[in-house]
Amino acid sequence: MSRNARRGWLVATATMMAICLFAIWQSLLLSLTDRLGPGPGFFSFWLSLLGMLFAGLLIFDVWRKPVVESDETLFPRGESAFRVLIIIGAVAGAALLMGWLGFELAMLVFIAGLTFALGERRWYAIGLFAIAGSFGVYYVFTRWLDVLLPPGPWAA
């Protein structure tokens, strides 16, 4: 295991351990047992306790593993990192815009922006794809498949 991978495992496992600890606290706020038998906190309490145990053992296991010196990084850099971040940002942007502009306009912006950011430079192709992916998909899903999607501001 490389130094970076070990660091990643330790951080991830410690975070999971913290989640289990939090869940133990939350379970104790609920009743563990009542007169009918196990209460709402029963299952989550014992699960979190088991989770804590597994996380502790895993941290110990990772800690004692020999470290291999390597330049290998866990997460990408440069162009690869840009692509990953731009996708995350685009989905977050679409989720924000959908509430205000409705599905069609939000998707139009999302598709045009993301395809451009991922390397497409032909404007007519971006435009056609964006219109098909926003207005076209909206039409298919709402009219043919009866799936409700957020309507645009003009719908009211």
Partner: protein
């Protein structure tokens, strides 16, 4: 009516125009998903769930099952033509399939894979018909203690057999189960872990979580490393030669048996039967040195086992309500979204639906063969779709899927959050499958355990009084103990899988 009568009636329903259309659409979409590198069957099935939101339950399940086995076959095309498995189960196909493509025999490799998949799928479905109903009848005798033990056994087998790191797999199982507890307590009705957030009262949606972990997570990984080494193969000559037929027929038979039997065991991922079938062929071959250099029986055995496994793994889902892999867990989620709980009661309460779905497996396998033999060149062309369009298109489906079930933008954020989490966990090589299975089984496990303890007045000794429950609980203990005592043997098996 007996099983055969129900099957015949199901076949009639499966051949109705609508259901035939759903099966056809599922096969096309599934193959498309399988062809596109970076999207496995679990991700593909998850992101296409929104297409079925408003279909009737039978049509929705038929389409999603067709997507599943379509994706299992579609992965073969990328394995042969670009040496990149479309999904994990096709890793073994790369070994000889890509070599055959380099020798100009891509058409034969893809044709024998399609025929092997067809035979494996059809025979496995016949065996499914024979096994599923009696198993479901037996499971009807189960009480809550046995159901709890069965789910524990299923989860532990997934942890023990599929996880590379058993402690990490156990931790992920615990976290998946904890996640499933968010929302209203199923027995007392009290809110848990909701923190006053209204959207959490219904619990964390299974669809946004799987779309995030599989759809968005896999896409982020694919965005990191774009690659393409497409071989310009002559796919007009696809019919295998007489010698290739002779070499493949035995491999197809053996692959079917291995795939179906291993499909019955929860936790045995699709890669294990394909690998075992491949190794068996190599061991019994008179010329084992040909393997790895373009042996057609290597492709035939792996692909047959892959599809027989896909159909075999439906047995524990339909008869016992236990998903054996993440993709089957996604399918189980789709059943639940449609108001159906897979398991023995489904055979009793909705026999016409179960048997129509089973009958549709036969129809789907025939459609898949028709689609894949003559149209293989068309599928290969899809590999040229630029990543910018592929990625954006998949994300549109993910957003619609996450939003569409409850019309909640909160679920889109949940999907994105789990997408980032899935990406990070994959980068670290944390096992995700146990968490997904735990997420779907969690509410049922809790309910079974609490009902059992209410019956016994809070005493765990009830498990000792019920021999079947005790035996089922012993299975995971034995598996976990075996792995703990002989970790090297299991590590070697998985290492060989990868190589």
């Amino acid at each position: 009516m007996d099983s055969l009568g129900y099957l015949m009636s199901g076949l009639g329903a499966a051949l109705s125009f609508n259901n035939l259309l759903f099966a056809f659409a599922g096969c096309v979409l599934g193959t498309l998903i399988g062809v596109l590198p970076g999207l496995g069957p679990a991700a593909g099935t998850a992101i296409l769930i929104p297409l079925t939101f408003n279909l009737d339950a039978t049509g929705a399940i038929i389409m999603l099952c067709a997507i599943y086995y379509g994706a299992m076959y579609g992965g073969t095309i990328t394995s042969v033509l670009i040496n990149v498995p479309g999904e994990a189960a096709s890793v073994v196909t790369c070994i000889d399939g890509y070599q055959m493509a380099k020798q100009g025999r891509a058409g034969s490799a893809l044709a024998i894979a399609a025929i092997g998949s067809f035979v494996g799928g059809i025979v496995a479905t016949i065996l499914l018909v024979a096994v599923a109903a009696p198993l479901a009848s037996l499971a009807l005798k189960f009480g809550p203690a046995e159901f709890f033990a069965l789910m524990v056994a299923g989860l532990c087998l997934v942890v023990g057999l599929a996880g590379r790191n058993i402690l990490a797999a156990l931790l992920m199982t615990a976290l998946g189960l904890l996640l499933s507890l968010i929302g209203m307590d199923p027995v007392r009705g009290a809110p848990r872990f909701t923190f006053g957030i209204e959207e959490l009262y219904d619990g964390i949606g299974f669809v946004p979580v799987v779309m995030g972990l599989f759809g968005v997570g896999e896409l982020l990984l694919a965005a990191e490393a774009r690659q393409s080494h497409l071989i310009q193969a002559d796919l007009k000559k696809w019919y295998p030669s007489r010698d290739e037929w002779r070499r493949s027929s035995g491999a197809i038979g053996r692959g079917t048996v291995i795939g179906f039997v291993l499909g019955l065991i929860p936790g045995v991922g699709a890669i294990v039967p394909t690998f075992m079938a491949y190794v068996l062929e190599k061991r019994i071959s008179k010329n084992p040195e040909r393997f790895g250099k373009g042996a057609i029986e290597g492709v035939a055995s792996a692909e047959t086992a892959n599809n027989a496994y896909a159909n075999g793994s439906m047995v524990p889902l339909l008869a016992l309500g236990v998903p054996s892999s993440p993709t089957i867990a996604v399918l189980m989620g789709a059943f639940i979204v449609n108001g159906l709980t897979p398991g023995p009661f489904l055979f009793q309460e909705k026999p016409e639906l179960v048997w129509t779905v089973i009958a549709s497996f036969f129809v789907g396998n025939v459609l898949l063969l028709i689609l894949n033999l003559p149209l293989v060149g068309l599928w290969a062309r899809l590999l040229k779709i630029p990543f910018a369009y592929l990625c954006t298109g998949v994300l549109i489906f993910c957003i619609i899927g996450a939003y569409g079930l409850k019309q909640s933008l909160f679920d889109v954020w949940v999907m994105l959050g789990f997408g980032v989490l899935g990406y990070v966990l994959r980068k670290l090589d944390f096992p995700i499958a146990p968490a997904i299975l735990a997420l779907i089984l969690g509410p049922m496990m809790e309910k079974s355990l609490r009902t059992t303890l209410e019956i016994s007045g809070g005493s765990f000794a009830i498990f000792l009084d019920r021999p079947l429950a005790l035996a089922l609980l012993a299975v995971p203990l034995i598996v976990l103990a075996a792995i703990a005592l002989r970790p090297r043997a299991f590590a070697n098996l998985r290492q060989t899988d990868i190589e």
